[in-house]
């Protein structure tokens, strides 16, 4: 293809965008709405995923040391714990600290227990945190086999439920996103297909006056690209604007410690780029696929 022909195709592609008026508006409208859907969803699911991770990270294993274990043995046990594969941090908590914690956690009712301060019936404890929360159970089992262990406690059921729930949620989230992206692809290329069906007579005429398939396809290629790109502008604006607003203003007023959004920079930018890419690719793909049928003979 000669360079001037390429320029011609680009010119014609842009011209068609303008001349097709309503059809163009309708196509861009379809691209815009579907991409808004996709991007809002992506932002939501990715952030929920992040939140789920934060919650999981709060899970710890409490190792109670056998009563009457000597100080050296306790120190050795601490070392041993730190050396376990996948352990991130080990914190020691003496039986006095444990009692104080118990009293504190019980509030006023805890006062009753203060009488035990002289004769503490509690054990020393190690708080172990896993690098990967899913390893928690495995690590707990390993600790159980050590010497001088009175008991290994972690919210087994709660954690399991949480993980299970999070895993389900994550699978559902990813499934939804994949479904949504496919839906978007379908809807956009569907819309473009209809506009091209509406132009099949014109494509036929072009062929009759000696245009090759490539010559006909190129302006549609450009047009599809433009439709996709133009259609992704509003979704990107919404992603950037909305996310910025959420990130800075709203979150401050919500008081859950575990809710922490992915940082605006680079997350929102990456998402915008992704949306732009989806729009452009589907636009091109939709229009090129749709004319194929009319280019045969």
């Amino acid at each position: 293809m000669k360079f001037r022909t390429l320029m011609r195709h680009i010119r014609v592609g842009c011209r068609n965008i303008i001349r097709n008026g309503w059809m163009t508006i309708a196509s861009i409208g379809a691209v815009t709405t579907t991409l808004i859907l996709v991007s809002v969803f992506l932002a939501l699911v990715l952030n929920l995923n992040e939140i789920a991770k934060n919650i999981e990270n709060d899970v710890e294993i409490k190792t109670l040391v056998e009563l009457g274990t000597s100080e050296e043995e306790v120190i050795a046990l601490g070392k041993q714990l730190e050396e376990i594969d996948g352990v991130e941090a080990v914190t020691f908590s003496s039986n006095d600290e444990e009692l104080q914690g118990l009293i504190d956690s019980m509030g006023e009712e805890g006062e009753t227990w203060e009488l035990f301060e002289q004769d503490n019936p509690l054990n020393h404890a190690f708080v172990v945190r896993a690098e990967v929360p899913q390893d928690t159970e495995k690590i707990a089992k390993e600790i159980q086999s050590f010497d001088n262990i009175n008991k290994v406690v972690f919210g087994k059921d709660v954690v399991k439920q949480l993980f299970e729930f999070n895993n389900y949620a994550r699978v559902i989230g990813i499934a939804l996103i994949v479904a949504l992206v496919f839906t978007a692809i379908f809807l956009i290329s569907n819309t473009i297909k209809i506009t091209i069906i509406a132009r099949s007579t014109e494509i036929g005429i072009m062929k009759l006056v000696g245009a090759t398939n490539g010559f006909i396809r190129w302006p549609f290629f450009i047009e599809g690209l433009l439709l996709g790109v133009l259609g992704s502008f509003i979704p990107i604006a919404i992603v950037l604007g909305g996310y910025y607003y959420l990130d800075s203003a709203v979150i401050d007023t919500i008081s859950f410690s575990f809710v922490e959004l992915l940082p605006f920079n680079p997350f929102a930018w990456q998402l915008s780029l992704l949306v732009l890419a989806i729009g452009a690719i589907i636009g091109v793909w939709g229009s090129v696929m749709s004319i194929r049928k009319y280019l045969k003979v």
């Binding site: 000669k2 014109e202 005429i205 009759l208 006056v209 000696g210 090759t212 010559f215 003979v297």
Partner: protein, 228 residues
């Protein structure tokens, strides 16, 4: 140049539009195709630029065998043939200028050449002032002349015209015929389906008469008429 041997054409709905067509048209000839409505004239023409495929038989154009033509070679065939369609087939969203320029753009002419050729040919058919209109803003005869202009703009070796004067008044018709005669005298083969007794009988050329899907008469310097 153009050779048809034992050509039959039956459309998918079962209508036989051509049966047993044998024709040999030499380079530079001027041929009228005449015949009643529905006889098969347009079908005969559509076979030549491969809008339709024959059901059987051989068609050779410039030694290209249309039966063996690959899909990607079809545009090359069509660029050698300028066609005036019975229903004009203008691109509705393009201006008249753009419609005619399209036939030059497909052969990757430089812009400057395109501009000059299009304006020349618009002048020839008397529509220079309509260059910026779109087809739906033109009268029937004006649209027909645009179709004629597009057919001749890239100086094809063969011009095929399907009733090019059906929507034209006699004066304008004669001007168009003069244009055809001009390009014919420069060596272009011209094949023209027509219902105009006056034109055929005045401007004497070879006449092929088709009736009920068959060639019933084929004579040089013939008269209008298709009864055997």
């Amino acid at each position: 140049m153009i050779l048809m041997k034992d050509v039959y054409k039956t459309y998918s709905n079962g209508v036989t539009a051509l049966s047993g067509i044998n024709v040999d048209i030499k380079q530079g000839e001027f041929v009228y195709i005449v015949g009643p409505s529905g006889a098969g004239k347009s079908t005969f023409i559509k076979l030549m630029y491969r809008e339709e495929k024959p059901s059987s038989g051989t068609i050779l154009i410039n030694d290209m065998n249309l039966a063996e033509l690959k899909n990607r070679q079809i545009p090359l065939l069509r660029r050698k043939i300028g066609v005036v369609f019975q229903d004009f087939k203008l691109l509705p969203k393009l201006t008249i200028y753009e419609n005619i320029a399209y036939a030059l753009e497909v052969i990757e002419e430089p812009q400057a050449n395109i501009r000059k050729r299009v304006m020349d040919v618009l002048e020839e058919v008397g529509l220079k002032n309509k260059a910026r209109s779109i087809p739906s803003e033109l009268s029937g005869g004006e649209q027909q002349r645009v179709s004629i202009a597009r057919a001749i703009v890239n100086r094809p070796q063969i011009v095929i015209a399907d009733e090019p004067t059906g929507n034209l008044d006699p004066d304008t018709s004669w001007e168009i015929m003069k244009t055809f005669e001009d390009i014919n005298s420069n060596g272009t083969t011209i094949i023209m389906a027509t219902h105009s007794k006056e034109i055929v009988n005045t401007m004497k050329k070879r006449v092929i008469a088709i009736e009920s899907s068959m060639i019933v008469r084929d004579e040089d310097q013939g008269e209008y008429g298709y009864e055997i």
